[in-house]
């Protein structure tokens, strides 16, 4: 059963050996050239499965991968039960929101410490689990890098996602994410990344800084 048409994959609900699973199928996109399309789908499928596994090793909750079919660009993975932060965040009390954002920051730090860049950090890609942890999904744009620039872009993306989709609470949420990040990496390392975030913003189109 198709439950979501994403930008690069269709998400189906299914069963696999008696388990409820998600089938993430990267479909052909008619808008792009066949050469580009085939290479992207195949690469991202294999890569996503690998990085989800690495992130789990880093201590970040991620779905369990059951099967990868590179030629069909399909991954079968655990169906994660819980609510997306996108819908959850606006309903929470300030205190609960802060706590949750702190967890998000810690998850990002755990990935970065293992040189994993998520590449698409939005509140739609985070699910609150029953045990109170935050599960990260959709590693389709993830990659390995130990560069400050890439870590900065990662944090810049979540900041912008907050500013656009959760503009009422964006500032406090991002402050708390930074707090969570610092708590694992230490102040010195974190500040370097935060400095990069500012730099990326200034580099963007038309930033007015007085």
């Amino acid at each position: 059963m198709l439950i979501k048409k994403g930008a690069e994959a269709n998400i189906h609900l299914g069963e696999w050996n008696g388990r409820k699973v998600i089938e993430k199928k990267r479909i052909t996109k008619e808008y792009r050239l066949k050469e580009i399309d085939t290479a992207l789908r195949s690469y991202r499928t294999a890569h996503e499965a690998q990085i989800i596994h690495e992130a789990k090793k880093a201590g970040v909750p991620t779905p369990i991968i059951y099967q990868v079919d590179r030629s069909a660009s399909t991954i079968i993975m655990e169906r994660v039960e819980g609510e997306r932060l996108k819908e959850l965040l606006p309903r929470l009390s300030a205190k609960a929101r802060r706590k949750l954002c702190r967890l998000v920051g810690q998850n990002i730090a755990r990935m970065h410490q293992r040189d994993i860049i998520h590449g698409d950090l939005t509140t739609s890609n985070m699910i609150l689990l029953e045990n109170g942890e935050v599960c990260l999904i959709d590693f389709g744009l993830s990659y390995f890098s130990d560069e400050l620039e890439d870590r900065g872009v990662d944090l810049h993306l979540i900041k912008r996602a907050l500013n656009s989709a959760h503009y009422r609470v964006a500032e406090s949420c991002f402050a708390e994410i930074k707090g969570g990040y610092v708590s694992l990496t230490g102040r010195r390392q974190a500040e370097e990344v935060f400095k990069k975030v500012n730099e990326i913003e200034k580099r963007g189109r038309y930033s007015e800084r007085m």
Binding site: G6, A7, R32, E35, V153, A165, G204, R205
Partner: protein, 336 residues
């Protein structure tokens, strides 16, 4: 004439970059007249801000007079004078601002400072009837994805370095053509047959084009056919943008997708964007070709909207803002 007297009329002056544009719009949503003169740098060169400003200075007097004449409007009949206050090239912006201030003072009419990017969005909304779209603004100055919420356009994705318009301009320059390069690349791309592999960089809803530019220029220097590189460059640049747009559309689920800005005239990009709009049950809309490139009409019409909701600026405070972001503009005239 009695009917006309009831209308609110706004003169709009555009001068952010290449184009000096003058237009008159009415509050019933009609563009009475729209005229422009476009500065052309030498082949292989980019815009020189001072030369652009001089071009605008020389073009302005006749163009303003011509627009009043053709619209059959006497200068005193207008209700407000709007100008592009930013973002753009300082020297070019100051020409438009100076003329607008002078006219406003002389005619004793209020002055309205318009954000050029908002102008692209509003003229597209006017001509397509879009109400609550995800906007794809693609031009020399912008590559941004925006949607409206609570008095502001919120940016959901944008370029992290150069714009798609820049990309084509700079590439065209490197291979010896004059800016703007979008049309040249589009024409050459039609004769391209073979895909030359180029780097593809999407970061969430963002894109980055500088690596693509460097690689494309290198491919030409290595002896690849220019037509093939143009074809591949266009395919990759637009596929990146379309993927970012689709990701954004899947995220915020808007009922309309609105393509605007100079690059919106590109037929290939329109085809790609139309496909993803259909995929996500959104209505695809694209700005009228007459108003896709920079024009006075986008300023005149946005000037009407701002003027009618009290958005005027005092002459002494009407300093141009070369780096004015579109998400910094407070917008009282839209709901959402």
């Amino acid at each position: 004439m009695i009917v006309l007297a009831k209308l609110v009329l706004c003169l709009g002056i555009e001068s952010t970059a290449h184009t000096f544009g003058v237009s008159i719009a009415s509050d019933e949503g009609r563009i009475l007249e729209d005229a422009k003169e476009v500065y052309k740098p030498a082949p292989g060169a980019g815009i020189h801000p001072r030369d652009a400003a001089q071009h605008h200075c020389a073009a302005a007097p006749d163009l303003v007079a011509k627009v009043f004449e053709k619209a059959k409007i006497r200068p005193r009949q207008i209700d407000a004078v709007a100008f592009s206050m930013g973002p753009g090239l300082g020297p070019a912006l100051r020409v438009g601002a100076t003329i607008a201030r002078a006219l406003a003072v002389y005619l004793k009419k209020p002055l309205v400072g318009v954000n050029h990017a908002i102008g692209h969005i509003e003229i597209a909304s006017l001509t397509t009837g879009a109400r609550d779209p995800l906007v794809v603004l693609v031009s020399g100055g912008h590559s941004a994805l925006a949607a409206f919420a609570q008095n502001r356009w919120r940016i959901f994705g944008e370029t992290e370095d150069i714009t798609v318009g820049n990309l084509f301009d700079m590439f065209a320059r490197e291979i010896g053509y004059a800016s703007p390069g979008g049309q040249i690349v589009e024409q050459l791309a039609r004769k391209g047959r073979r895909y030359v592999e180029l780097p593809y960089t999407v970061k969430g809803n963002d894109v980055a084009y500088s690596g693509l530019l460097t690689a494309a220029v290198r491919k030409v220097k290595e002896g690849e056919r220019v037509e093939d590189v143009c074809f591949s460059l266009q395919e990759v640049a637009f596929a990146m943008l379309t993927e970012a747009t689709e990701r954004c559309l899947a995220l915020i689920e808007k009922p309309e997708l609105l393509l605007t800005g100079g690059v919106a005239a590109n037929v290939k990009l329109q085809t790609m964007m139309r496909l993803i709009a259909q995929e996500h049950d959104a209505t695809f809309k694209v700005v009228d070709r007459k108003f896709s490139a920079d024009c006075g009409a986008q300023i005149a019409w946005t000037g009407i909207l701002a003027y009618k909701s009290g958005g005027t600026v005092k002459v002494e405070e009407s300093v141009v803002r070369p780096r004015w972001r579109l998400d910094n503009v407070f917008i009282p005239w839209r709901e959402g």
